[in-house]
Structure formats: C-alpha cells, structure tokens
C-alpha cells in the first residue's frame, strides 16, 4: 500500500491519468464513440442524453435507484474467495465479484433499472431491447413488469434456440419476444431490428440499449449504471486483502460488465485491466468474436469502434459458443482503453471457457454463465503468469442456469438411450 495514503480503507492514492474524464461532449473516447444515427432518431437520442444529465443531478433519482439496487436487486453483491479453484491458477488468489447473485441472474439489471427510471421520466410507455444470451432481455422484461411498461425483446433466431430457457422467462414476465431471422440471426441482427422498431415508434418507445456500445450517450450512460460493480468490488477487495488486486478480469462482448468493474480502477495505475474476448474456435480461425484482437476501427450500431469487417466495410459474422459474446463490435470506451494501453484484451476459446465453467462448478459449487467463464479462463491463465501472492479480481457477470442445455450437449450430460451414465467424464 502506498505510504502517501492517509485513509487506508480508501486504498492507495490514485493517479489522475489524463483523459480519464471521457467521453467528451460529442461522446468521443479519444477517436472512438460519437453518434452515427439516422436523422429520425436524433431528437430521441438527444432527449435521452438531456434527461440523463438532469437525472444525474437529481437526488431523488439517485435515491430511487439506490433503493431499487438494494431492495430489489440485492446489492451489494458479495465477493467470494475461491480457494479450490485458485489452486488451478498457479497459487494466485482469485476473488469473484458475484454479479450472478443479482436478481435476474446477471449484472444486466443494474443498467436496466437506471434506464427504466429514465423511461418513466421521459413519459414513454413502451420499451424495446436487444438480447444475445437473453440476460439483458430477461432483466428488461423484469423491469417492464415492475414498472408497467409494454415490452418487446429482439433476439436472433440462433440465440432463441440456444437460450430457450431465457425466452420462456421473458414471455413469463409478459414480454413479446421477436425471433430475428435476418443476417446472421444473432445479437448484431437483433440490434438492427430493434433500431428499425425504434425509428418507427420513437414517440412512445425507449430503446433500452443493453451494453456500452451504440450512439452517445449510451456507452457513457450504461457504463455509469454499471460502475457500482467496480465501486463495490474495489472497497471489498481492500477490506478483504488490505490492498488492491494485481489485476481485474472480465469478459467482453459489447463490454458492459467489464466497463462496470474496470472504471473505478482506471486511476489505479498498478492494477492491470484485462478483458477476455470470445475467440470461438480460435482467433486464427474464421470463427471467432475477438473484435479488439482481430478487428479494425469502423462504425457499427451508432459509434466508431473496433469492428470485425472485410476490406469493403461489410461486417463479418462472429462466432462464439456464448450468445452474449457473439458480437462483431465492442463498446468504444474499450477501443480507447486498448489504444491507450490502459487495458489489455485477450482471446479465450470456446473450449477454454467451457473447461473453466466445469472447473468452477466442480471446485466451488458455482455454475457460471458461459460468458463469465471466458473471464474465469482468462484468470486461470493470468494467475499462472503472476504466480503465488498475486490477487486477481474476476467479474462473475452471470449465472449459468440458462446455459445448461449448451453445457449438457458439450459435455454429454444427457442420458442417451441405452447408454450408461459416464456423465461429464474427462
């Protein structure tokens, strides 16, 4: 711990890195971000930005959101030491920030409740959202039930099949789930379809964007609603270990849970920030979703960021076993953190993620979402690099109930007619 620190519980004194006050007024994080939207949406997006600025300085808004996060979501989420799992990570101490224990089963509810309150302030009565794994869709359907909004969720047809449980949850909550059959039939196309709905229904409808991408102010606003993850976790790690972690690890699709846990640590220059992207069958194969590792700067879904694209600027279809990371873009603040070197981004394959999923299940009794399992795989690798004595904080962004069908097929957990029961053998 730094000698200069006067208040030990606040941790070491922090560097105020130039440029940590992002984005600028036009929504730019360095060269990334901005607002690339059709004219028909300009008024609506400006309204969101203005209402959010007003809400930020309204103590009643903060009080209502805090009460919901505490009494409805169940915050603060715990920090869990995973000693048996850590034994596989070269002796490094791994701590999990348990966003999987939030109501609805993932971090997504943090942002959804904030934007639901904003929707009510704007006088709108209908919410639309995209979803990949269904975690954002379930959180949105939940908030719409709580607030009495009409709710339509767009989900790629491929994802409605691999995340069928979450489709049923959304419908149970009263949402209409639209299966999107255009393009790659995954998250990218669900976002396209949600934008088309928004253009046609913008008077009544708020598009409750689910990640730190999209046009300004969404990357900033969604990050702000998730900052609570990092604020809680930083203090919890200090209280538990007496010092800051050596690294913070999170999975990155669009990147909302990662921005949420990273943000509070950005001024802590000694803390490495590591985002784990989905490498699918391998970042060197054509079937991956490793946007920051393999993509190039471009414009997708309203902001300038890294995009998986060909030389004509056509988006390349991504692939990941995890529906929530299966996205050829990424939030612009991650693009900026990559270029400035403040964060590192690593590809994690389907197989490495699935092995980490099973390892955490069997060593700790915690079944993580496949998305979060990418961060766990990254933490195992990092722990071996850093060795004994190191502390690694991992964002366990969601729970794995929704993924049991995929996992059962992957590991052969279903009874086969006439077969024995060698389930999950190595």
């Amino acid at each position: 711990m730094s000698e200069k620190s006067e208040n030990p519980s606040a941790g070491p004194e922090r560097d105020h890195l130039p440029g940590t006050e992002v984005p600028d007024a036009r929504g730019y994080f360095g060269a990334y971000g901005g607002r690339f939207i059709p004219e028909a949406l300009v008024a609506a997006v400006e309204q969101v930005a203005e209402e959010y600025e007003k809400a930020k300085s309204d103590p009643a808004f903060a009080a209502e959101l805090d009460a919901l996060l505490k009494d409805y979501t169940g915050r603060p989420s715990p920090l869990t030491d995973v000693r048996r799992f850590s034994a596989e990570a070269g002796g490094a101490r791994i701590l999990l920030k348990r966003e999987d224990l939030n109501h609805t089963g993932s971090h997504k509810i943090n942002n959804v409740l904030g934007q639901a309150l904003l929707t009510r302030r704007m006088g709108k009565t209908r919410i639309i959202a995209e979803t990949g794994a269904g975690q954002h869709g379930v959180a949105t359907a939940t908030a719409c039930a709580l607030f009495g909004f009409d709710c339509t969720i767009y989900m790629g047809e491929v994802d409605t099949q691999r995340q069928a449980l979450n489709v049923a949850r959304m419908r149970m909550l009263g949402a209409e789930v639209v299966s999107v059959t255009s393009g790659s039939r995954t998250l990218k196309d669900a976002i396209n379809e949600a934008f088309r709905d928004w253009v046609a229904n913008v008077d009544s409808t708020h598009y409750l964007f689910g990640t730190v991408a999209g046009p300004h102010p969404f990357p900033m606003m969604v990050r702000d609603f998730h900052r609570v993850i990092g604020i809680e976790a930083r203090q919890q790690v200090l209280d538990r270990t007496g010092r800051l972690p050596d690294a913070v690890v999170a999975c990155v699709g669009g990147g909302s849970n990662a921005m949420g846990i990273f943000h509070e640590f950005i001024p802590d220059a000694g803390v490495r920030l590591i985002g784990c992207e989905a490498a699918g069958e391998g970042a060197e194969t054509p079937r991956h979703a490793a946007t920051l590792t393999k993509g190039d700067p471009g414009v997708l879904h309203g902001s300038r960021t890294y995009v998986l694209q060909d030389e004509d600027g056509q988006t390349i279809e991504s692939h990941s076993i995890s529906a929530g990371l299966d996205y050829p873009g990424v939030g612009p603040e991650h693009a900026w953190l990559k270029d400035t070197g403040r964060a590192e981004y690593r590809p994690v394959t389907d197989d490495a993620a699935m092995q980490a999923l099973r390892l955490l299940s069997r060593t700790e009794g915690i079944i993580p979402a496949i998305e979060s399992a990418h961060a766990l795989a990254g933490a195992l690798e990092l722990g071996r690099e850093l060795g004994p004595g190191a502390t690694v904080l991992v964002s366990l962004s969601g729970r794995g109930d929704k993924d049991m069908h995929t996992a059962a097929e992957y590991f052969g957990l279903y009874d086969e007619p006439g077969a024995g029961s060698a389930h999950g053998g190595k």
């Binding site: 059709p38 396209n192 088309r196 414009v299 997708l300």
Partner: protein, 269 residues
C-alpha cells in the same frame, strides 16, 4: 455553383412538375443485371437515380431492400462493382444524375477522400449517407466539395425546426424528406407528416425538397408531387425485380413500366 443535380431539379420545376428519383441497389440481381435495371429506370422516366451500395447491416431498410442487399452481397458485389455501375449508367445516360446511397462504414473503410475521388471519376453526382448525421460529416463534406459532389441529407418528421436549419445548411443538391417515421418499404398511404415536413424544411432553405419512404404508386407520386420538388421511389422497383423471379426480360419490362407510371404521376399534380 450549379451542380448537375440542381440543374435537373430546376429543369423539372420549369416544366411545372416534380422530378422522379428511382433507387436500386448495385449488384442486384447481378452486377450487369443491376446496370441494365438502373438503365431501365431512366428509360422509363426517372430523372435521377440512386444506386445503393449494399451493406451487411442496413438498419434503415425494410425487408424488401434487405432482401435485395442480401442477394447482392451473397453474389459477391464489391465497392468497385458499385463504382462500375455508376460509371456505366452515367456514361449511357448523360442527361440523368447518378447518386450513390449507402451507410457510412463502407465509405469510411474504403477511405473518404478515395471514395469521393473515385465516385466523381465514375461520373457520380453525389451521395446520400443516411446514418451520417451533420455533426459527423465534416470530413466527408470537405472531400465531396473538392470533387464537385453533392451531399444530400435526410430530414425526418421528428426533426425540430432548429435542427432542420442545421441540416439543410450543410447539404447540397436537394433535401431528402422522409415521408414517415420508419424504414424503407411500400405503404398504403403516404400520410400527413410529409407535407408538413416539406413546408417546415422549405422555410429553412432554397434547396429543392424531395420526398421518399413508402411511395410506390402513380397516385402516391401525384399526391407527393403536389407539394414536393421530387418523388423518390425505391422498394417498389426492388419488389418488381423480386417478383420477376429471375426472368430478366420480365424484370426490366416491369421496372420500366413502373417508372413510366410514376413519371406520369409526377406530371399530373
């Protein structure tokens, strides 16, 4: 400086009619077939054509143009094929103006200055970039101006008056007024929003105001021509080609016939 686009719109006005603007994506149903189809639009009576540069993520297009873009991209259409389409159409029909309509990322990726230079060299008159708002368009407008290209901006019924003034001040050629809030595609009625938007837009600019989104019939063209300087039709042409189901002769005849009907419509108001 009077551009080709301004000249054509002024000539139509002098004839006491609205201009007819037709859209088709390049590479649909094939690159050469697309060139012939755009030619048929002009032969049928379009004064101006917009050639779509197909994109993988056409968020402002409805199912009809999405289908056409998909066919074009699966057929392997490239930006160089789009530029060849512009070049061949412009060379064969020197009286018509040829615009490119596309999303921003393909232009950004190709290189802003390079795209403007290549489009101008191909004989293109300008560009419509519906997901590039005025605030993000400075680099493009500079390149376009250097190469004598017009930049047509879209305005929408949701645009407030102050915003309309900002948008029209940045644009050239004409202003594209979206008739409805929504994506491209034929609609039963043009609706009341269009006329109000045209009037509000006119209050901010001397540029001609042309109306698109949802216009598909002679009657709708005549109605829009009653209050706008130009009538823009896209999905209806695409649908004619889809309906021909691979019979190129039938497709060309169908789009030529529709262009002829619409050309009567814009003269009948």
């Amino acid at each position: 400086m009077a551009s080709k686009l301004s000249g054509i719109l002024a000539a139509a006005k002098a004839e006491g009619r609205a201009a007819l603007i037709g859209y088709l994506p390049a590479g649909f149903p094939s690159v050469d077939g697309g060139i012939r189809a755009v030619g048929a639009l002009i032969e049928g009576g379009c004064d101006i054509v917009e050639i779509g540069l197909p994109h993988s993520d056409p968020v402002l297009d409805g199912p009809t143009i999405q289908t056409a873009d998909d066919i074009a991209l699966r057929g392997g259409v490239r930006i160089k094929d789009v530029l060849r389409t512009v070049q061949e159409v412009a060379a064969a029909h020197p009286a018509a103006a040829v615009l490119v309509m596309t999303y921003w990322n393909p232009v950004d990726r190709y290189g802003v200055a390079r795209f403007a230079a290549d489009l101008a060299a191909a004989g293109g008159a300008g560009c419509i970039l519906p997901d590039l708002p005025v605030e993000e368009s400075v680099e493009w407008r500079k390149a376009a101006e250097e190469h004598g290209l017009d930049t047509v901006f879209v305005v929408a019924p949701s645009s407030k008056d102050r915003r309309l003034a900002e948008v029209t001040a940045a644009g050239s050629g004409f202003v594209y007024a979206a008739a409805v809030m929504g994506v491209t595609g034929s609609r039963a009625q043009v609706g009341d929003l269009a006329e109000d938007l045209v009037a509000r837009t006119r209050a901010t600019t001397e540029l001609p105001v042309c109306v698109g989104l949802g216009v598909s019939t002679r009657e709708q063209a005549a109605q829009v021509a009653g209050f706008a300087d130009g009538v823009i039709v896209g999905s209806a042409f695409v649908q004619r080609i889809l309906d021909a189901d691979g019979d190129e002769g039938a497709a060309l005849a169908a789009v030529r016939e529709l262009a002829g009907e619409l050309a009567q419509g814009v003269r009948r108001s």
